[in-house]
Structure formats: structure tokens, C-alpha cells
């Protein structure tokens, strides 16, 4: 009997509960089967170390952009009010940046926050590949509603068998299995 071994490259386990999926992911990790991705309608806390995702760099971006924003603002104000055209406004001293510094604090602060926030947000959108009109890549439209999908890529797991994966998924509470 020639058994055609059915070997899809990606297996999706669809769960109805986030805790179920988290526990299931731990089982897979214990079985040294790598989970490629998890799709959920909300962040599942604790999933990242289990499936091996590292910390994000988004906050670093915020700091870098913030520092840039501050420096640019200092440069801008110094150039405009101290270097290029110092004007006597209300008798305020304009010979050095430090002499007039208290008046500049609000603008410096706001520029820092502006650049930090927008720089980080644009970085975030680009890292997540989110731009207007982009098409989504979630495997099942219900993953933004109430289903939690675990994606197991068989090409990552060359020594695991399809049957093993399906068995584990079923045992850990997956209500559906999809393949691609």
C-alpha cells in the first residue's frame, strides 16, 4: 500500500482560548517543536519567551529620536535667536543661549516629545509593516475576533512529523486544524 505522506508545509492550530494556546505553546516547546507564529485578537501575555521572541527595539527608537529632537531644537533656537538675528524682546538677554534658557524650556520639551513619539511610531509602523492599504496576512479572519492561531512551520521542524504536531494540537485543545 503506497501511503502518500501528506506533508503540508504550514500547520495552523486554532484555539478558542488564549490560555489554552499558551499552555499548548509550552508543550510544543517541551517537545522541541518550534512555533513560527501566533495570531491573536489581543496580546497573549507570556507568549513571547515561550515562542522565543526577543524584546523589541521600539523604546530604543523613542530614546534616540527624542535625543535627536532635543538636539535639533537646541540648534534651531540657538541659531535663530542667538546667532542669526538676536532681537531685544522685552529686554531679555540674548547674548548666550544659557542667558535666555528658561524661556526655551517649553519648546525644547515639546520638540523632544514630538520627535520621540512620532519617530517611534513611524518606526513601529514600519517594523510591523503597517501602512495604509496594506493587506493583512492573518490566516483566518476570526483571529481578530475570538480565535487564537498557532502557526507551525514544518520547514523549521525538519525532524518533526505531521502526525505528531496534529496529535499535540488536538491534545492541547485546538478546536480546528488548518493546513497550507
Amino acid at each position: 500500500m503506497s501511503e502518500v505522506k501528506y506533508n503540508p508545509s504550514i500547520i495552523y492550530g486554532i484555539f478558542d482560548d488564549d490560555d489554552d494556546l499558551l499552555q499548548s505553546a509550552k508543550v510544543f516547546r517541551a517537545n522541541r517543536i518550534s512555533v513560527a507564529n501566533v495570531y491573536s485578537p489581543f496580546p497573549i501575555h507570556g507568549i513571547d519567551p515561550v515562542i522565543g521572541h526577543k524584546r523589541t527595539n521600539v523604546s530604543v527608537a523613542a530614546f534616540v529620536f527624542g535625543a535627536t529632537g532635543f538636539s535639533l531644537a537646541v540648534l534651531m533656537i540657538w541659531y535663530m535667536l542667538i546667532s542669526d538675528w538676536p532681537i531685544n524682546v522685552g529686554g531679555k538677554p540674548n547674548w548666550t543661549f544659557a542667558a535666555n534658557f528658561p524661556a526655551f524650556v517649553p519648546v525644547l520639551f515639546e520638540s523632544t516629545v514630538f520627535c520621540a513619539a512620532h519617530g517611534m511610531s513611524i518606526t513601529y509602523l514600519l517594523l510591523n509593516r503597517l501602512l495604509p492599504g496594506f493587506n493583512p496576512r492573518n490566516p483566518d479572519p476570526r483571529s481578530t475576533d475570538d480565535k487564537f492561531i498557532m502557526e507551525i512551520n514544518m520547514s523549521d521542524n525538519w525532524d518533526a512529523k505531521y502526525d505528531e504536531v496534529v496529535y499535540l494540537l488536538k491534545q492541547t485543545g485546538a478546536s480546528e486544524i488548518k493546513e497550507r
Binding site: 532681537i87 531685544n88 524682546v89 522685552g90 529686554g91 531679555k92 538677554p93 542667558a99
Partner: protein
């Protein structure tokens, strides 16, 4: 001139124009006397009636008879005094919008004449007229019946007006003067009579009836509060006190410092000041010599193309006077009195709003003080108002975007905003809406557009001209060479402008006088304009 209409007055008093008789005395003439006519008195015959038989003597009996006659004035009847306003005079130039919009020095009302009445009379049961005016309250309209003539005018509360008297100004009620003057106010000339004894014009009348009407009127006043509210805005003292101590009445303003000492505001500085290496323009205003005539206001208007806004806008508090003459009355309630009598703060301030029945009056011309720590400059977001290195507060009209923060932040409230387009606008059809009117404009000064702030520039165009002329001759401007428009027209030389860095200038000498003080010095904004205390010629050690 007046329209020549006289009511049918008492018979037999028609002015008789006799053939010219030899004038009683020929005036003395000196060579070069500018005011003498070549042949003594003017040629036109003067109506000279027969000398009055009963001459006025100092006989006490006559005086008491006269006084008794006064008291015999029937109940409810007033004595009317017809007067001329300083700006409008007899009304021959009533069509001049500057003069119409010039606030009367005492009433601070524009664009109308009115019945001035004492507050006591206005509060009497017969009338119960509204005392406040302008924005605070509408004025009541009353009818004045004098010698068969009826004049209907709003009633204005005039502190210090004698009880039982009313006043009405001439020069109004014109019908053929032009678009500006026609229909403004009521004509008081019909109430002027000819004295049947001496043929002089009689500008007063007794036995005048004042009748209430149900109408009200919104007088276009530029000032609605009339006392200094216990604040040291105008400083005054008596001659006796001044002779004893030249700094009388001019208490120094001192700020308490954290180290326990006190110092003047100019010395309490958060930062180092900008140097005044070349010129340091300053202005002194001598409150002693200022009459409140208003010539400086007109001078400023004509020099700087200041817009006339009309009655309705003045009613809304939007006059454009760069320079205004504040008039303050004294009040019976003072800080000292409140302390002595234990009057609470709320009552004290309410009482301070009320002028005395017989108040002292002071005038104070206020224009941009060109503060060296100007609060207006700091808050303009676009640098439309800045400070020159010669001490002037500059206003850059074409940079102003009209946020009006500068106007709010000015403690002297000298800034004026262009709420509408005042030029080339038929809603403001005065002198900026046609080619003929525009010939009055000064080509050295720009006409401001809608939405920008303006204020006294210390006639910077004249300063620049003066500096340039002096520079061409390789010298500094000499004293009196650069005159601001207000200084130029002041009849008593109350205003002096000059270079505080130059000891030869009069203003510098004034600045060293003990009478010198800055308005609102305690705010610490270091104005370049200063005032000199008013010294009253009374025999008293204090006012």
C-alpha cells in the same frame, strides 16, 4: 459760523448797529506786534450800547440783593451755562472728524453734546437719572426749555458741577456742515441771547426748565471710571509742601528683597540690561503744566494717520487714540480714611468709585511708555513688536498677525487694534475714504490695515529724520531738534522729548528732578516715559 437763526427774543433788545463811534480807548501798539491791526480797532462797527446806568459796585447791599435774586429762582428751575468745548469751539470746524472724536477733557465723551448736571441733581426725586454712562449705563435724555427754545439732549453726570446749574456745549446740531458734523448733537446757539443792557452775547440763562423724557441715549465715552481708586497714578502735592521738600508727594516705590533690604524696581533685575550706547530716547510729561486741552491728541492723529472710527465704535470701546488724556477726580474715600474709619475693603472700593461733590481734577496724558522690559514684546509670537537699541518699543505693522496678546499684557492699555478696515471703507467715511480726505494723511507714516495692532511710536519718523539731519552735519541731535508731534503742539510745553544720554537735553534735566516718577513703577517694566508731579498752588501742607 452759526446758521444765523435767532429765536424771537424779548422785544426791544434787538442789537443796534450804530454808526461807528470813536472807540473808547485805542490800544497800545508796539512795533512788530503781530496781533495789532494797522489802524487800532477793526473797522467794522461795533455795537456799543449806551453805558449801563447801574454800574456794578462792591456795595454789600447790592450783592445780597443779587444773592437773594438767585434764591428767588423758582423751584425746579436751573441756570444754564453755554460753553465751548476745547476741541470744537463754536463749531465752525465741526465737520472735522478729528475734533468730533477728540474726547472732551472733562467728560471724556466724543461725538455729542449733552447736558452736564450735578450728581446731586441727577439723583433728586424729580429726575433719578442714570449716573454712569457709556458701556455701564445708558444716559437718560432730558428736554431743556430755555427762553422758548427746547433742546433735547442726554444728561451727563459732571462731578463738581454746581447744584442747580446745567451746561450745554456749542458747536453741535449743525445741519449744513458736511457728512461728519450733520446731525450730531443739538444746536445750543438758539439758547444764546443778547443782553439787552449791554448788547453782549448772553451765554447763560436762568429759569431754565429741565424735563425728563423716557428716552435713553448711549453717549460715546472713552472713559467710564473717573477716580484713581486709591492708586498713586497721578502724584500731586501742594506748593508749601514742595517748598519744604522737593520730593513731596513723590513717595519712592520700593520693592522688598529677600535679604531684608528694599530697593527701587529699576535696580531689581533678573538679568543684565541691554546697553544704550548711542541714544536713549525718553519723554517727560509735566503734570503741572498740562491743561488737558487735547491738542496733543489731535497732533498725534494728524502726524500718524490715526483712524477715526465713529460714534458706534467708540461706544464699543474701540477708539484709536494712541495718546489719550486720562482725567481723574478725587474721591472722598481714601486709603487713609478707610483705615481711620475702619471701612471694609468692599465698601472702601465702592466708595472710591464715587467722585467728590467738589473734586480736584487732574489730567494725565498716557501714551506708549516704551518700557525697557516691555511685557508686550515678550508675548508677541512673531516678533512684531521688539525693542530698539535706542530704547523705543517698535511696532512692525506688516509682521503683526493680530493675536492681541500684546494689548492684553500692556498695563497702561495704550495699544490699539484695527478691528475693521478703516481706510477705503464706506462704513468709516471720514478722511480715509476719498482722495480729498486722504490729502490730510502724512506720507511719512503708513496707514495700517485691518487686523494689526498699533500704538504710539514716539514719532519714530521724526526721530529718524532728526538723526539723519544731525548725522549729515556730523553732530548729535541738539535739544529740541527732534520734537514729537504731541510735544510740538502742546501750548504749555508739558511734553518734552529728547535723548537721556545727552546731558544738554531738557528731558535729561527733567529726569533728575525730584518731581520725576514713572507710572506703575512697581510693575518693574522700566518705562522710558516719566511724569513730573503736579504741584498745586494752595496754602496747605497737604491736599
Amino acid at each position: 459760523m452759526h446758521d444765523g437763526v435767532y429765536p424771537a427774543v424779548t422785544a426791544g433788545a434787538a442789537p443796534v448797529v450804530e454808526a461807528a463811534e470813536e472807540p473808547a480807548t485805542a490800544p497800545e501798539h508796539k512795533e512788530g506786534d503781530a496781533h495789532a491791526t494797522p489802524h487800532g480797532r477793526p473797522q467794522a462797527p461795533v455795537a456799543v450800547a449806551a453805558p449801563v446806568a447801574a454800574a456794578i459796585s462792591a456795595d454789600p447791599a447790592t450783592i445780597s440783593t443779587a444773592a437773594a435774586n438767585l434764591n428767588k429762582v423758582k423751584g425746579g428751575a436751573f441756570e444754564l451755562v453755554i460753553y465751548e468745548k476745547t476741541g470744537l469751539g463754536d463749531g465752525r470746524l465741526a465737520n472735522n472728524p478729528w475734533l468730533q472724536e477728540l474726547p472732551d477733557p472733562i467728560s471724556r465723551v466724543t461725538w455729542d453734546n449733552y447736558i452736564t448736571m450735578s450728581i446731586a441733581d441727577m439723583n433728586s426725586d424729580d429726575f433719578k437719572f442714570n449716573i454712569l454712562n457709556g458701556q455701564e449705563q445708558l444716559s437718560n435724555v432730558a428736554e431743556v426749555v430755555v427762553n422758548g427754545v427746547t433742546l433735547k439732549l442726554p444728561v451727563y453726570a459732571s462731578p463738581g458741577q454746581a447744584k442747580g446749574t446745567i451746561g450745554i456745549a456749542l458747536g453741535y446740531g449743525r445741519t449744513k456742515a458736511g457728512k461728519t458734523a450733520n446731525g450730531i448733537g443739538a444746536n445750543a446757539f438758539p439758547a444764546v441771547t443778547i443782553n439787552k443792557d449791554n448788547g453782549f452775547f448772553e451765554y447763560s440763562a436762568v429759569d431754565v426748565k429741565v424735563n425728563k423724557t423716557s428716552e435713553t441715549y448711549n453717549l460715546a465715552g472713552t472713559q467710564t471710571f473717573h477716580t484713581m481708586m486709591g492708586r498713586a497714578i497721578v502724584k500731586e502735592t501742594t506748593l508749601d509742601a514742595y517748598k519744604k521738600d522737593a520730593k513731596a508727594g513723590n513717595e519712592p516705590v520700593l520693592l522688598s528683597l529677600s535679604n531684608g533690604t528694599k530697593d527701587t524696581p529699576n535696580n531689581v533685575n533678573l538679568w543684565e540690561d541691554h546697553p544704550r550706547l548711542n541714544h536713549k530716547w525718553g519723554m517727560s510729561i509735566d503734570l503741572n503744566t498740562c491743561l488737558g486741552c487735547g491738542a496733543c491728541v489731535i497732533g498725534c492723529h494728524s502726524e500718524n494717520n490715526v483712524a477715526v472710527v465713529g460714534k458706534d465704535e467708540v461706544r464699543r470701546g474701540r477708539d484709536m487714540h494712541w495718546l489719550r488724556i486720562d482725567r481723574y477726580y478725587t474721591s472722598d474715600m481714601t486709603e487713609k480714611k478707610a483705615e481711620e474709619e475702619g471701612v471694609g475693603a468692599i465698601d472702601k472700593f465702592l466708595d472710591m468709585e464715587v467722585p467728590s461733590d467738589s473734586p480736584r481734577v487732574v489730567f494725565q496724558p498716557v501714551m506708549c511708555q516704551h518700557c525697557n522690559h516691555a511685557p508686550c514684546e515678550t508675548v508677541c509670537p512673531v516678533l512684531a513688536t521688539t525693542h530698539s537699541n535706542e530704547g523705543l518699543n517698535q511696532m512692525t505693522y506688516n509682521r503683526c498677525i493680530g493675536t492681541k496678546y500684546c494689548g492684553n499684557n500692556c498695563p497702561y492699555k495704550v495699544r490699539r487694534f484695527n478691528w475693521f478696515k478703516y481706510a477705503d471703507n464706506s462704513a468709516f467715511d471720514f478722511h480715509m475714504n476719498d482722495t480729498l480726505g486722504k490729502m490730510v494723511l502724512n506720507p511719512d507714516v503708513i496707514v495700517r490695515g485691518r487686523g494689526v495692532m498699533e500704538k504710539c511710536s514716539m514719532c519714530v519718523q521724526r526721530i529718524q529724520e532728526g538723526k539723519l539731519n544731525a548725522k549729515k552735519e556730523g553732530r548729535r541731535p541738539i535739544d529740541g531738534e527732534i520734537k514729537t508731534a504731541c510735544q510740538q503742539v502742546c501750548p504749555t510745553n508739558a511734553i518734552t522729548f529728547g535723548d537721556l544720554n545727552d546731558d544738554t537735553h531738557t528731558v535729561t534735566k527733567h529726569s533728575k528732578e525730584p518731581r520725576m516718577y514713572h507710572l506703575l513703577e512697581e510693575v518693574g517694566i522700566q518705562p522710558s516715559v516719566f511724569y513730573m508731579t503736579k504741584v498745586r498752588n494752595v496754602s496747605a501742607s497737604e491736599l
